[in-house]
Each structure stands twice: as structure tokens, then as C-alpha cells.
Symmetry: C2
Subunit: 694 residues, 2 copies
């Protein structure tokens, strides 16, 4: 057994983070060095890059203002009002918060930077076959994966080392989450506004292809893939990763201090997760005529196996608790099971997708009803998975002493998220190859190249199900752990103020129950606001597309000199998204304040539980039914039940359009919403226990 | 202050029940005595009656078998295994259970009996103007209202008087609920199978009118209104009413015994609620050219006011606790507020319906997205209403002593349900006038009569929103109270067995949390199973309708001698409904057993909470979005956004079709599902605390 200090492990964590960032830089150079020669593709690629950067700039200006306001509030009030506590604490908290927002924003920016290059490279590479095209797409995604996970581990470690206090990690985490909340919402509204409108006028009304360059919304659609799926998703997973580490750290610190074995384990396991992902990415390969699906999945499984082995070895060498390793392993295992279950409901080789496709023959109402029903059903295995892993992780670790059960749940979440570097690489791969498919079509690279891009694209969709299983499961466990962190914070604050702490959140306590019932409504209202945003924006953009086709002579016929006004569509999506992204997030934060001031810590305990309950349910329903509709449409387009243009296809397109904001706007934002609410609750616990009506 | 014994109050309750039953008989005779002369209408009315009775007979045979099995299980195991406890207890429990199922079944039967007469009378009366048509419809509905509430109060009082033990009231309630669960599910699947199929082929594909007699599914559609909306709804509200009384009685008994003031108050308030409804129904009137909307709403408000005054007077005279009266009043008030909020989201004079109608211009995907979003938003006011009334009712009554807070919540639920006699009358009015509209069209009574029926029908839809507010709110509070009843039962059983009882359901307890997360999935899976049932059945029936139009010569053209085969469609709906109605309910019951045997009483506490959480959310979402889509379609049909046949109309029909099983199959069944699960948990509490893994 080797003795190692907490500092030493943190230094190793920093080294591995730097290694990941260096690897990201190398991958970026590699992607950039791939050949590209087609002028038409370069021109369109430039349009996309410009649009994405413009949106990001405008979005970040809005968010910078918001961040500034919050930073001032934190400076004055947190961790305790400036006139009462130590001013240095408030400054550190504010700095941690800003650091969190900046790193999160950076993650989005880096993602856009590489994705808008990798899409071009992958499209061109497809001329040489599937292998180089896959590698360009995958390594482009991996830049994002490595950068996000490297910087999140680096950030958390630095904040803890410099400030020496787990509460400021919560501040850092809040910075990351609040930015992620708005970035995800804004990007999600942008991308689906463009996607829906382009499809509706192009595919449905006019019967032209998805990426036909005559369509004025086609560039906005491709920009959307980048700002929504790449930048938004990057910020989102940055946030989940930081939140799960923060929750684990808060509990680890309260169980044996900052230099104890528990803190060591958190850093060791997180660093090993990143290391495993580096190895997984570095060794990912595809045969010459290989199956991209298999390549992606096998690299995920390789990473998982390496992680399990490395953590077991570390636990043995450093004499860590095997029970805690067990909790982590449970997380990893259950994550895989949830992934397989989501795959069942969204894979077109399985009954649900096929039945929805068949039901579409009778009209769009049946597409919606059956898809929605399967979405509801799909919640069952995932919820059972989360429930069982929480129960097991708790009971495995509970014998270690008071508080260890909850710590076990936090470590189980960390286990599920351990391979997040790999998950992000796979997830970012999706929009890149989706874009490159568009470029191949717009650049006229021919049927064969488009077929290759299609195959890569479809693999991205299928793999998404598995990775989504991990991220939803982990988010579920993380928010449970954050509930535990909230209780730790409340009791710490109560002890300091000489107030009575809380022993439990009893459902039979009417204040807890009140919070729970109100909490149920928040994720529902939050997602409704985002979807209504998409709905309204898309109506505006549809009108604009109609206007262009009606007023620009020769556009419909595809005359050489007839150019659509792409920028106008990008502008509509941008303006709309910026208008709608703030209110939903602010609603969630303000309702937390209202409930806290009405019912204090008890009500907030219930409120968080209510948020978790309805959030998990809605996130699973929306993500899975959305994925299912998308694949049912693709299944029909592949020639089943009448193929393109049939009644079944028209119905399936309606399903897909409904599913778009389900799975790409509302569904994945809910996790972030709950995380933000949990962090706000923890940070304000000291205030809620002093000022509340009940 | 007047002294009165508990027995005396129970005798008064019985007398008022008998008065209500007598009044129902008088109303029935009145309706039957209304003139009818049109042979064509009589013929079609006979078809509908025969179809409804056939379905009911076949359904009741299935349910009788199920009831017999459960009765045997109860006889052997409940309240404690027959080889351990007193055999007389088991016999009483079994008898109470069977009594509950029989009364519930009877409520459905009576409803069908009168509704299939009142529809004919109302159609004929419409020839004389709106006033007699309204009275025939309303009094037909009132027969149902009076019979249901009269028999439920009579049943509960008799069981308590004869058995002298609140637990057997739970057995009675379980009988009522389990029958309601299947009746509601079966009727709901039948009615929506027929409705969707008839609309899809008739309205959408062929462009013929809703009740065109050429449509082979038209009779099945009208039968569905009766078996789903009348019989199913009757069984459902019978069950809610009994469940809320049972929960209150279990707690009242544990707080001061069976002869105490609390038990007196439960009976007094329930009896006064029935009395107020009798007065409200008896005085309901409409002017000669009056507004049926106003007539229905004003009779609801009159009933509410009478109830508030009568209970206050009783509380004063008998020296009951004013605090408990206060809790009841809170329920009444919040019920009204929830009703008004639901009205906002489903009334076509308000923005949500109009915006969804407008969004429909851009295609069905927008109808679905915006309607679904507003459905999510509509959960907010109702959930806040339930949360606030639980918090207030608890805190108003808590000063009376330990256990009174929860009793306050139970009384608040009773307050919301007090006017249930009126609610059922209004609710049953809807399908009756809907049917009579169909009869008027099929009988060729002319445009003017159809216009009157249309007005009556539309009033039925609007009023439904308000009454639904009451019933969802009350169901929410009732299940909270049932959670309290469960805890009482657990502790009573634990005390008897010498085991430790439970003090709380702590969310931080992993076993509770496990139950909570699994519980979330149950209402989702339950509603998915019902909707998939409708979806599959409707596809079968659509195929049959197509077959008939294709193979029966002259049917499409409406030749005199070409008769559609109505019975075949009724048979498809019946067979399908009978096949699908058992599995969903059994799934809910079995998962309760599984969770109970895994985690014991703690897990069940969480499980019930999870059921309540996701059940409330889904029920509100589905009921309100369904109502909204229905009214958006009607709004467009009234000539807005292009009127009938426009793109907006076609999209709105898709929305309505999706909304049909939302609002009439899944949504309203969820309440019953949660009630059944709660009752199963309470009845089996003694077993769960002895045998469980964790």
C-alpha cells in the first residue's frame, strides 16, 4: 500500500488535465491538416462558421451582462452578506463563479472552432472512403471531449487548491451551470427554429432535399447544429461533470476534511476517468469498410473497461475503500444498462421504432400517440436503473459510517460520468458528420459521398442513445447527491448560526410536501417556455422562407443568379433565441427563491425532490420519444411502409418535427435546469434558514 | 350548542342518501315522461342502447371474474392471514370489498340506463327550443349525480355502522376503486377507439359530417360516449368520493375513536354536501333563450355557497371545530381557483386556445407542440393550488393536536369533493347532449335543431374545465390524505405486532427514495399502455371502416338500401377494450407488491409519493392539453383561420385526435390508478412491514 498526499493527487489530476488539453491541441492540428480543396464547400463552410460565430458572440454578450449582475449579487451576499462575514470569502466565491462561467463559455467556443473545420474535412475525406471521413469527424468531436473534460477537472482542482474550501467549488459549479443553462437553451432554440422551418418548407411543402442550397434556411440549419448540438452540449456536459465532482467534494470534505482519503478518491477517480477517455479516443479505429457504429460503441466499452481496471488498481495500491469503488462500479454498470434500454426504444432495428413507423400509415395522430406512449414507457427502465443504483450505492457505502451512504450515491454518479470525455467525443461527432453530409450535398460531391456521409450520420444517431443513457442517469444521481450536498450546507450554516439543523426531509411534513408539489411544475413550465419559443420563432422563419421563395425571381427554379438571403434567416433564429433564452432560466431561479422564502430549508428539500421527479420523467420522455420519431422517419425514408413521399412518411415528418424541440431543446436542458436550481438552493441555504414564513 | 350522537348523524346521512336516491328516481321518471315520437331517432337510439348494454354486460363479466379472484385473496389474507387472525374480520372485509364493487358497477349501469333515454328526449325537445332540450339533458345527468353520490354515502355509512371499523371502509373503497379503474380504462379505450376511427375516416378522409349515418363507426362512437364518459366517469367519481371519505374516516377514527366529534364531522359534512347538491340540481333553471353555460356554472356556484353556509351553521350548532371547517373551506375555495385556471387554458375565448388555433396554420406539428406546451404550463396553477391548500389546511388544523394537520388535508379534499353531486350532474350532461346532437343529425331534424344541440354540447365542454378542476384538485388532496392513512395503518399494524412503527418518510432515506423514483414510472407506464391500446384498436377499426366502404355497394353514395354493419365496429371496440383493460391496472397493482416486498413500508411511502408526483403532472398535462386541442378545433370550425377544410382545420383535427385519448382515456384514469395503488398499500401494510428485503 502506497501513501500519497491529497496535494500529490491533485497535482496528478492537473497533469492529466494538461495532458488532455495537449492531446486536444494535437487532435485539432491533425484535423486542420486534413486536405480540403473544393471551393464551393469552402465557401459554404465559411458561411456556417461566420453564422455560428456571430450567434455565439451575440449570445455571449447577453450572458456577460447576466453574469456581471449575478457576480455583483454574489459579491454582496455569498457565502454570507458582506457586512456580516469575511469579505475575502465573498471575493473568492465571486472569482470562482466567474471562472466557472468563463471556462464553460470557452468550452463552447472551442467546440464551434473545431466543429466548423472538421465538417469540411470530413465531407472532403468522404471522397476517399468511410475510414478517413470517420476519423475526421471523430477526432473533431474528440477535441471537444478532451477540452471540456480537461478544463473541468483543471478548474475544479485549481479552485479547491487555491481557495481550499469545497463551498467555492459550488460557486464554480454554479458559474458553469448557469452559463450552460442559457447556452443550452439559446442554442437549442436556435437550432430547432432553423431545423423545423427548413424541413417544413423544404421537405414537406416543396419536396426538395434536406440540404438543398436553394432553401434560405439551409445555412441557419447547419449553423444550428453547431451552436445547439456542439456548443450547447459542450457547456451542458462541462456543467454535469463539474456538478457531480462538486457534490462529491462537498460530502467528501464533510467526511474527513479536505486532506482525507475521500477527497483523494474523488480526484483520483476523476483523473482516471479522463485518462481512460484519452486512451479510448487515441485508440479508436475503424476498418477500411468498417462500421462506424461499431467503432464508436467499442471505443466506449474499451474506455469503460480501462476505467474499471485503473480505479481498481488505484484502490488496491493506495488502500482506498473498496466499498466506494463498488459504488462507482455500480454507476458504471447501471449507466450501461440504461444506455442499452434507451437504445431499445430508439433503434430502428427494434419493435418500438418499427411500430411507430407502421402506425404512421394511418396518419400523423397515430405517429404522435404511439411515439409519445413509447416515450412514456421508456422512462421505466431508466428510472428503475437510477433507483436501483442509488439504493445499492447507498447500502454498499453506508456501513462505512454516517454520511457515507449519500457519498456513495455521489461516487456512483461520478462513476457514470467517468467516461464523459468519451461521451462528449461521440456526441460532438454527431453534428459534425450531420454538417458534413449537408456540405457534401450542397457542394455537389455526388451520390456515393452522400451515401457515406449518411452512414456516418446514422451511426451518430444510434450511438447517441447509449451516451444519453449515461448522461441522464448520471444527472439523476448527481441531483440526488446535490440534495445531500444541500443538506450538508444547511447543517453547516445552521451550526455556524447556532440554529437547529435538519435531520430529514419528511414527506409527511406539509412544508416539504408543499415544496415538492410546487417543484413538480418547474421543469414542466421551463420546457414549455423553451418549446413555445421554438414554436413562435419557427413560425416567423417559415414566413420569411415563404417570402423569399415568393419574391426572389428564379429561386424556386434554382437559377444560377438567384441567391437566397441566408443571413436573414440566421438573424431571425439568433434574435429569437436571444429573446427567449433568459426568461425560462430566470423563472426557475426565482421560483427557488420564492419557495425558499416561504418554506425555508424544508420546503427547498421538497422543491428539489419535486424538480428531480418531474425533471427525470420529462427528460426521459422527451429525449426518447424525440429520438424514436427521428429514427422512425429515417426508417421510412429507407424505403419501408411506402418510403419517401408516402402517407407514412408525411406523418413521420410531423412526428420528427414535434420530436425536434423535445429531444434537442427542452429534454436535454432540463438536467441543467435542475442542477442550477440545486446549486442556487445550496448557495442560499444560509439565507433560507434565517428568513422564511413557515 | 346541540349535543348529537355519532349514530344520529349517521342516520341522518342515510336519510339524506335515501332522499337523493328518491330524487334520482323522480328525475328519471320525469325524463322518461318527456315526449318522443320520431321513429328514426327511436331506432338509432335503440341501436345505441343495445350497443352500450352489450358492452357493459361483457365488461362486467370480465370484471366479475377478476373481483371473484380478488375476493378470495382478501378472504384469505386481509386484514390478516386467515390462519392468524379472526376469521370474522376477513369475512367482513371481503363483504365490504364486494359491496364496493357492486355499488360502483350499479352506478355505471344506472348512468347508461338514463343517458340512453335522455339523449333521445333532449334531441326531440330541441325542436321546441333550447330550454326543454337543456332540461332533459341536465336532469338526465342529474339522475347519475344523485344516484352516485347517494349510493356512495349510503355505502360508506352502512359499512361503518355494520362493521364498526374504519379499515373495512378501506376495503369498501378498494372495491369501488378497483372496479372504477377497469371500468374507466375499458370505457376509455372503447370510446376513443370509436371516436378517433369515425373522425379519421369520416371527417378527415371523406369530408362527411361527424354523425353521418353512412359511417359504420358512428353508432360505436355514440355508444362510446355512454360507456366511456357516462359509465366510466360515474364509477370514477363514485370511487373518488368514497376514497376521500375513507381517508378522512381512517384518520378521524384514530383521532378520538369512532364515536368522536371528528367522525361526526366527516358524516355531517358529506351529508350536507349531498344536500346542497340536491338543492342545486332542483333549482337549476335556464331562461327561454338562456345561456346553458351560465345555467350550469351558476348552479355550481349556488351549490358551493349553500354548502359553505350549511356547514358553518352545523359547525356552530353542534360545536364542531372551526379550524376543521376552515380546512374544508380552503378546499372549496382552491377547487374554484383551480377550475378557473383550467378554464383559462381550455376556453376558446382565452389566448392559449386561440394561439394553438393560429399555430395550426403552419401544420399539425405546431398544433401539437404549442398545445403540449400549454398543457405543461397549465400544470402550474393547479399544482400551486394543491400545494397551497395542503399547506394551509395542515397549518390551520395542526394546533388541534398531533395528527390533526393530516386530518385537515383529508377534510380539505372532502370540501373540494363536497359538491360532487353537482359535478357529476354537469359532467354526465356533456355526453348526453353530445349524443343528442348525433341523433338530431342522424334523424334529420334539420339545421335549427342541430344548432341548438351544438350550443348545448359546447356548454358541456366549457363547464367540464371547471368541474375537472375540482376533481383533479380533490384527487390530489385525497391521495395525500391516503398517504396519511397508509402511515396510520402501518403504525396500527406495527403496534399490534410489537414491531417499531415509522415516524416519517424521509426523502434522504435511500429506501424511500428508491420507492419514489420507481413510483414515478407507474402512472407513465399505465397511461402509455392505455394509449397504445387505443392506438392499436383504432388502427383495426379504421381498416374495418375502409373495408365496409369498399365492399358494401352504394354505401359511399348513401343509397337507401345500403346499410353499414354498425355491429361489427361495436364488436371491434368491445373486444379490443376488454383485452386491454386488465393489464394496465394489474401492472400498477403488481408493481406496488414488488416495491413493498423489496423495501417495506418506507419504500411504499416513497412509491406513493412518486405516483402522486408523476400522476398529478401527467393528469393535468393530458386533461388540459386534450381539452385545449378539442376547443381549438371547434374554434377553427366556427370559421376562424380558414374554417372547416382549411390547413389549420386539418392540423387541428390531428391535435384533437391526439388529445382524445389524452383527455378521455389516460388522463382521467390516472387518478383512479393512484387511488387503487394507495389503497392496496394501506390494506397490505401489515404484510409489507413483516416481509421485505431492505
Amino acid at each position: 500500500m502506497i501513501q500519497i498526499s491529497s496535494q500529490m493527487i491533485q497535482v496528478v489530476a492537473i497533469l492529466i488535465s494538461v495532458l488532455a488539453l495537449g492531446f486536444a491541441a494535437w487532435l485539432y492540428t491533425w484535423v486542420k491538416a486534413q486536405p480540403s480543396s473544393n471551393a464551393r464547400i469552402a465557401e459554404i463552410g465559411e458561411y456556417i462558421r461566420k453564422g455560428a460565430n456571430t450567434f455565439l458572440r451575440r449570445e455571449y454578450i447577453v450572458l456577460a451582462r447576466f453574469t456581471a449582475i449575478v457576480a455583483v449579487l454574489i459579491l454582496v451576499f455569498l457565502p454570507s452578506p458582506i457586512w456580516k462575514g469575511n469579505i475575502a470569502d465573498n471575493i473568492w466565491m465571486t472569482v470562482s463563479y466567474i471562472f466557472g462561467t468563463v471556462l464553460s463559455a470557452l468550452a463552447g467556443k472551442i467546440g464551434i472552432q473545431v466543429a466548423t473545420i472538421a465538417n469540411i474535412k470530413s465531407a472532403e475525406a468522404a471522397k476517399q472512403g468511410i475510414k478517413p471521413a470517420f476519423m475526421a469527424g471523430f477526432r473533431g468531436g474528440a477535441v471537444m471531449g478532451m477540452a471540456v473534460v480537461g478544463s473541468s477537472l483543471l478548474g475544479v482542482t485549481l479552485v479547491l487548491m487555491l481557495v481550499g474550501d469545497a463551498s467555492s467549488v459550488l460557486g464554480f459549479s454554479f458559474g458553469a451551470s448557469s452559463l450552460a443553462l442559457f447556452a443550452k437553451a439559446g442554442g437549442g432554440i436556435f437550432t430547432k427554429t432553423a431545423d423545423i422551418s427548413a424541413d417544413l418548407v423544404g421537405k414537406v411543402e416543396m419536396g426538395i432535399d434536406e440540404d438543398d442550397p436553394r432553401n434560405p434556411a439551409v445555412i441557419a440549419d447547419n449553423v444550428g447544429d453547431n451552436v445547439g448540438d456542439v456548443a450547447g452540449m459542450g457547456a451542458d456536459l462541462f456543467d454535469s461533470n463539474v456538478a457531480s465532482m462538486s457534490a462529491a467534494l462537498v460530502m467528501a470534505t464533510s467526511l474527513g476534511g479536505i486532506a482525507g482519503n475521500n477527497v483523494k478518491m474523488v480526484f483520483a477517480y476523476a483523473a482516471l476517468g479522463l485518462l481512460s477517455s484519452i486512451i479510448g479516443v487515441a485508440t479508436a479505429r475503424i476498418g477500411k469498410n468498417g462500421d462506424p457504429n461499431k467503432a464508436l460503441n467499442s471505443s466506449t466499452y474499451v474506455t469503460t473497461a480501462i476505467y474499471a481496471i485503473l480505479t481498481a488498481a488505484t484502490t488496491y495500491l493506495f488502500g482506498f475503500e473498496w466499498r466506494i469503488w463498488g459504488a462507482t462500479a455500480v454507476g458504471l454498470l447501471v449507466g450501461t444498462i440504461i444506455g442499452i434500454a434507451s437504445d431499445y426504444f430508439t433503434n430502428d432495428a427494434k419493435p418500438p421504432v418499427r411500430e411507430v413507423a407502421e402506425a404512421s400509415k394511418s396518419g400523423p395522430a397515430f405517429t404522435i400517440l404511439s411515439g409519445f406512449s413509447y416515450g412514456l414507457l421508456s422512462a421505466l427502465p431508466a428510472l428503475i436503473g437510477i433507483a436501483v443504483s442509488a439504493l445499492l450505492a447507498y447500502n454498499i457505502c453506508a456501513p462505512l459510517g454516517a454520511g457515507y451512504g449519500m457519498f456513495g450515491i455521489a461516487m456512483s454518479a461520478l462513476g457514470m460520468l467517468s467516461i464523459v470525455g468519451m461521451i462528449i467525443s461521440n456526441d460532438a461527432y454527431g453534428p459534425i458528420v450531420d454538417n458534413s453530409r449537408g456540405l457534401a450535398e450542397m457542394g455537389g460531391l455526388g451520390e456515393k459521398v452522400i451515401a457515406i456521409s449518411d452512414e456516418l450520420d446514422s451511426a451518430g444517431n444510434t450511438v447517441k442513445a447509449v451516451t444519453k443513457g449515461f448522461s441522464i442517469g448520471a444527472a439523476g444521481l448527481t441531483v440526488i447527491a446535490l440534495l445531500g450536498a444541500f443538506m450538508s450546507e444547511v447543517n453547516a450554516a445552521a451550526a455556524e448560526l447556532g440554529l437547529p439543523g435538519i435531520q430529514n426531509f419528511d414527506i409527511m411534513n406539509p412544508t416539504v410536501f408543499f415544496g415538492l408539489i410546487v417543484g413538480l411544475a418547474i421543469p414542466a413550465v421551463f420546457s414549455a417556455m423553451l418549446m413555445l419559443g421554438v414554436d413562435k420563432n419557427a413560425q416567423r422563419m417559415v414566413a420569411e422562407i415563404h417570402r423569399q421563395f415568393d419574391t426572389i425571381p428564379g429561386l424556386k427554379e434554382g437559377r444560377e443568379d438567384a441567391k437566397p438571403d441566408y443571413d436573414k434567416c440566421i438573424d431571425i433564429a439568433t434574435t429569437g433565441a436571444l429573446k427567449e433564452l433568459i426568461p425560462a432560466g430566470v423563472m426557475a431561479i426565482i421560483s427557488t427563491l420564492v419557495v425558499g422564502f416561504i418554506g425555508g430549508a424544508d420546503a427547498i428539500g421538497g422543491f428539489l425532490t419535486g424538480n428531480i421527479a418531474s425533471g427525470l420523467l420529462l427528460a426521459l420522455l422527451m429525449s426518447n420519444s424525440g429520438g424514436l420519431w427521428d429514427n422512425a422517419k429515417k426508417y421510412i425514408e429507407a424505403g419501408n411502409f411506402g418510403g419517401k413521399g408516402s402517407t407514412a412518411h408525411k406523418s413521420a415528418v410531423v412526428g420528427d418535427t414535434v420530436g425536434d424541440p423535445f429531444k434537442d431543446t427542452a429534454g436535454p436542458s432540463i438536467n441543467t435546469q435542475i442542477t442550477v436550481v440545486s446549486l442556487v438552493a445550496s448557495l442560499l441555504s444560509v439565507i433560507f434558514i434565517q428568513f422564511s414564513i413557515f
